[in-house]
């Protein structure tokens, strides 16, 4: 087991987003949180990441976590490669790992381009590089494909598939289907 949420509730402001929500992810598993805007997908991801306290219930993580959310967390003024290298140092992984992750997301041609010049989809790919390179077994991906073109989405799906084959788990929040094979669905809209 890599991630387990047991009867979790989340309150934002004075609004109950969801309650009594349980889920678990074993190595190789992937769960797709679907639902309309405001259903609580992002909040659930943040609760799973430990960034938000659950109002009730327990959250257990058995391994390191890699997170994508709406913010890329890359220094805008730096060239892409140097911005990614900062996180490689924080995660104590070497340059080859970053190289391979950049190749997986097809970002090598952009290595010297400042982050501020990148498009939304390119930034999402860069954030994905950080997730892949981190080597963390638990991936929490909040709308990872926003702004991505078809080719980039295919790379994302391939990266998720490789990660699962290597024994990782993926919690994916997205309002549209990504085409990841063998995906368990959880409709957040049905909870409310």
């Amino acid at each position: 087991m890599l991630l387990r949420l047991d009867r979790v509730a989340c309150i934002r402001g004075d609004r109950l987003l969801f309650e009594d929500l349980s889920l678990s992810l074993a190595p190789g598993e992937a769960l797709w949180l679907r639902g309309p805007n405001g259903a609580g997908k992002s909040s659930l991801i943040r609760v799973a990441a430990g960034l938000l306290r659950a109002a009730a219930g327990t959250v257990e993580r058995f391994g390191r976590v890699a997170l994508i959310d709406e913010a890329a967390a890359l220094d805008a003024e730096l060239p892409l490669r140097r911005a990614l290298d900062f996180w490689a140092r924080v995660d104590t992984v070497d340059g080859h790992t970053v190289d391979r992750a950049m190749a997986a997301m097809g970002l090598h041609p952009l290595a010297e381009v400042p982050v501020t010049m990148l498009s939304t989809g390119q930034r999402k790919r860069a954030a994905m590089v950080r997730v892949i390179a981190s080597g963390a077994p638990i991936w929490l991906l909040d709308e990872p494909a926003n702004g991505m073109d078809d080719a980039a989405q295919a790379r994302l799906v391939a990266a998720v598939t490789t990660h699962r084959a290597n024994g990782g788990a993926v919690l994916l929040a997205s309002h549209f289907a990504l085409g990841v094979p063998d995906l368990v669905e959880r409709d957040m809209g049905a909870l409310a």
Binding site: L51, A66, A71, R130
Partner: protein, 213 residues
């Protein structure tokens, strides 16, 4: 990993000319002051030391809007939290980087500023010693107010107000060192600086944690 964090903060503090901003501000005050009170050297010498302290405090608080808020908006703080880096550690690294990023240039700028304010060699030495003692505390207060106001719109303005009461003892004892009869001032300044520097990481860390809720 902490070294990577530290270098990143220092690079961002010194990158794109931001290094000179607090220093220029500091020198601006030192330049403007003689015009305001008149060029009478004895008056300048007597009052200039206190002015240096006020200018140093304001220079420390000048960059608070870019100490924490950009990291929060860019998601860097969230990413560090996900990696299990304690908020207190992040705050401590930020305080250290700010102390060096703004403290070193400030100490260098002290010399031209002191000359503009007609401070003699003895007083310059006292000022340099006092500022060197107070810089960790000033950095600590700056990061604390930056963390407290990062979640507020237009928070910079109240940032200064928040830490002013805490900064008052630094001003009193720092400027008090210049008084020939104030021999105990340096010890009290060191005590206050130590206290503020020690509290800083925990208070700012708690404020960083609050930003996530």
């Amino acid at each position: 990993m902490l070294i990577a964090l530290f270098w990143r903060d220092l690079r961002r503090a010194w990158g794109s000319g931001a290094l000179w901003l607090p220093v220029l501000f500091f020198l601006l005050v030192a330049t403007a002051f003689p015009f305001a009170v008149g060029p009478d050297a004895p008056v300048l010498a007597r009052t200039g030391g206190g002015m240096v302290w006020v200018a140093a405090l304001l220079a420390a608080l000048l960059p608070i809007d870019r100490l924490v808020r950009p990291d929060r908006d860019a998601g860097v703080l969230d990413q560090l939290a996900v990696r299990g880096v304690a908020d207190e550690v992040i705050a401590a690294v930020k305080i250290l980087a700010h102390a060096i990023g703004f403290g070193l240039p400030l100490l260098i700028a002290l010399f031209p500023a002191a000359a503009l304010l007609a401070q003699d060699a003895g007083r310059v030495e006292t000022l340099a010693t006092g500022l060197a003692i107070a810089i960790p505390a000033l950095a600590s207060l700056a990061v604390l107010s930056a963390a407290l106001t990062a979640g507020l719109k237009g928070g910079n303005a109240i940032g200064g107000l928040l830490v002013l009461p805490l900064a008052v003892p630094l001003l009193i004892f720092g400027a008090g060192m210049l008084d020939p009869s104030g021999r105990g001032a340096v010890k009290l300044l060191a005590a206050v600086s130590l206290l503020l520097t020690a509290i800083g990481p925990f208070a700012a860390g708690a404020a960083l944690r609050g930003l996530r809720e």
